[in-house]
Subunit: 289 residues, 4 copies
């Protein structure tokens, strides 16, 4: 950290709500000559929990980046029993993408990284199928084919975790990965695995949601991006969106319309995540503006 000169620092905080927290945090920054660039806070009135995201300019801040955490912890976090996450603008997160056979979300994600739209790294793609290896190749990303069967699942997941650790992966995106992750796998990355489900959850969880939507005769279909927990399709929702359909639309049409929805919804969720705009509390996601 010695020679780093990040432009700004961001704190994500939550703790029991008490009077004076905002004043205390803004005072902390103000007192050390920091300039607040972004502040958003929210109180869950039922749970009595305070949530905050604050970002400040480090140009004139008198504490050096490597000392901010210690000072903040001793000065404030302890007093208010805060859960917090400190990050700096020059940290580039490392993301692994898991895929099966469908390429649309993968293309969308990797092209955003390759074009520089997103400032994150993709050290590797992991798949239980070989189909998308050419896509990974054309973007110059390592592709690991790790087929999963009910029998080999534990050792294959162990192999996946090893690869992820070796590559210093910060978070994982399941870009239409058609495998259920085991609870023990998930524990390695709490609130760091993002899935896209091709329905408007909690409607149509599980397999073949477009078929179910067609059968039910809905007039709108949706897609849902959420953090993965041990309960399938039950994790905290990050983002959802919908598109109109009519009686004319066949299942094939729903799949086609849904494809665009899936990739946009997943990408919005990934963006919010790597911009450190999300905070998970119980089964809900706070998504700051």
């Amino acid at each position: 950290m010695e020679n780093r000169q990040p432009q700004s620092a961001t704190l994500l905080i939550y703790c029991e709500d008490r009077s004076g927290i905002i004043a205390a945090v803004t005072d902390f920054i103000h007192a050390h000559e920091g300039n607040i660039i972004y502040l958003d806070q929210y109180v869950d009135a039922e749970e009595k929990i305070f949530f905050m995201r604050i970002e400040w300019d480090l140009q004139t801040f008198v504490i050096s980046p490597d000392k901010i955490e210690t000072l903040f912890k001793e000065g404030l976090a302890k007093k208010y029993k805060m859960n917090y996450r400190l990050s700096f603008s020059d940290e580039k997160l490392r993301m692994a993408v898991f895929v099966s056979k469908l390429p649309h979300c993968l293309y969308d994600i990797v092209s955003r990284c390759q074009s520089g739209e997103w400032a994150i790294d993709i050290p590797l793609i992991i798949s239980n199928h070989k189909e998308l290896e050419p896509v990974a190749k054309s973007f110059g990303i390592d592709y690991h084919y790790i087929p999963i069967t009910p029998e080999n699942k534990p050792e294959q997941e162990a192999k996946q975790v090893e690869l992820l650790k070796k590559n210093n992966v910060d978070f994982i995106v399941l870009a239409r990965y058609m495998q259920i992750l085991s609870e023990s796998f998930i524990k390695n990355y709490p609130s760091q695995i993002i899935n896209i489900h091709h329905s408007f959850l909690p409607a149509f969880p599980g397999a073949k949601p477009y078929h179910s939507a067609h059968k039910r005769g809905v007039k709108i279909i949706g897609a849902t991006s959420h953090y993965v927990t041990a309960d399938l399709d039950e994790g905290p929702i990050i983002e959802q969106d919908v598109v109109r359909v009519t009686h004319v639309d066949s299942i094939k049409d729903l799949i086609r319309k849904g494809r665009d929805l899936e990739k946009i919804v997943l990408s919005r969720a990934v963006y919010a995540h790597f911009q450190r705009k999300t905070l998970v509390y119980k089964n809900r996601t706070i998504v700051f503006n």
Copy 2:
């Protein structure tokens, strides 16, 4: 019918799909000097069912309105084993509105009728509560207070049906009516009872959907208008719409935002219904443009 001179006639048709139906129907109108104003048709490729809505100008049509049905039935409907509904532009449908305590959908519906936006009559409002009687009064509509308990439900529903029949009601709108209709009641008005449910079905059926939506942490809430069948919240969907919410929105906010959604979605469904733009087949609603 003798002195009537409706401007146009509308046929809603469905039957097993066969080659030549469109040609046969359009020929029928063309051969008798009718001018087609509207034609929309749709084939359910899986079920192999043909659906059509056709409207034509009667000014130059050489068959008089009171003879159209006989000729159509003998000439075409029998041959193709069609289910059909013939209506004329001068027929004004009669609608009953059922309410409990929440007024927003009621206000929206009656003001559309009173202002002439909708060409339908509301001969009566039925409620299991007294609260909305002043609203009915201010619009000059009969209000019938028929309280329902588990014990008196059969006789009270009988009283409702009697009133509906006496008033020649064509269809019923449940404008946030908080009672479940019995199967025997529903049988009197198949595909003629429209409900508004305050969620994006099939998500959150049953009671308190906004509470459930808040608990689940969804990022979008919805409302669904559907025909009432014996299966609660399972009838054929006519219209749905949604609105964005965030972690900031409390249950009270969801209720407030949902209120606007409910009234718009219900009114769109009622409009499609009385314009004879809907056809129910199995559990799906064909909604023509």
Copy 3:
């Protein structure tokens, strides 16, 4: 104010951005035992202007409501050269509605007030036509018919202002009022007159926007609610929304679909206004959550 015991106070503030404002304001409330219920702030980085909305519980607040303003002004507003507006939760705003012949927005607004959905008073409705007098009557609201011609405009507007002042009107809603207000009239109610324009501004300003939209072949139509300024259809936008249309939709269809849009968009804007969630700066409206 002596016997009043409002539940909460709200401050809307804007001033030149300086370090430490948030800390100063939250300290002010905190130091006097107030509990912050709502805080949202925003910095216009280009203009270097700080905007804030803060609401706090008065139950434990040690300053009595009638002394808050003086203390705030002396203690903070002067120091930071703040523009501010203080309000209390028990203040009920008084709204005048201006209409011409179209009733849909009027019905929507008055039914929200009559049902208690909105805690505001409507002491009077003003119109340049007689058509909607029966609507006003059925809701028990005074209706003033003040026809406008190019010749009598100045004295008729003077009459309007007199009525508004006599009725202690706080703000005015133009619910499809088809008259242009003069600059001198507008000066009486700066940022207190809300209009609904039936297009997605800045597209199709002026007369007959649905006709223009149809001619241009747009695939989406919109409605815009804005504060009225001397420049027609150029005032700060509060809320907009849109609905899809297709080549099939005639001008009549656009008008019908637009009607629902107009009433919802106008009502959202009015709600934001009377909830003191809006702040106008130059030609933009800050709309707090």
Copy 4:
């Protein structure tokens, strides 16, 4: 055409509206044992023009594909003075993409083609800049760098047309191509050049629409895809969509949110075009379902 066995044929038709056209066209298909898969028609009541899209299965059709056009022309098109376009399901259109420096629309389009989502060919990409050549390379598509200056525009456009002709290009997509095409260029591809404009037209035509939108303080931004005509940003609109923004969004945020909108709106327009679902009449686009 000799050995071709396309699955289906599609006719896009428009002509002066007359009684009996639908019957005549469906009779034509029916009489030759064709099975209608899709039929949509629309009458512009003001212009008195009839529009139709009809697709039928060729499996049992007794006329061979290469003779359909002659028979249709002699039998029907002449009688009704139809403008029509006949196409077959096995025809793969050839599309050229024009780009400048922004890659998001290009990535979206080429990945849809490479993955097989779209059954069209991209023989070449043309650009006035070198920046996106690596993207073209990674997808294996020819990239032609043709810089444009006011001086060299005529000869450079001539070079472009030559390339397009040599590559048998059917239609052109301007994927954020920052050059205005000359009238003489456009004449080569009437209703065959699709542009994406980054605003909700007719709001904010011309350069820097996000800056203008920010300045005007709109609450919704949009994107518009249209056929290119000699009048800049005035061509027939194919598709539009919008996304909400707030006072918090900077110009940079509008650009980011707009990017996703642009690529989705452009791709929907391209899809409708190559599926032969569009018909241009005067300045409006009929987009069949």
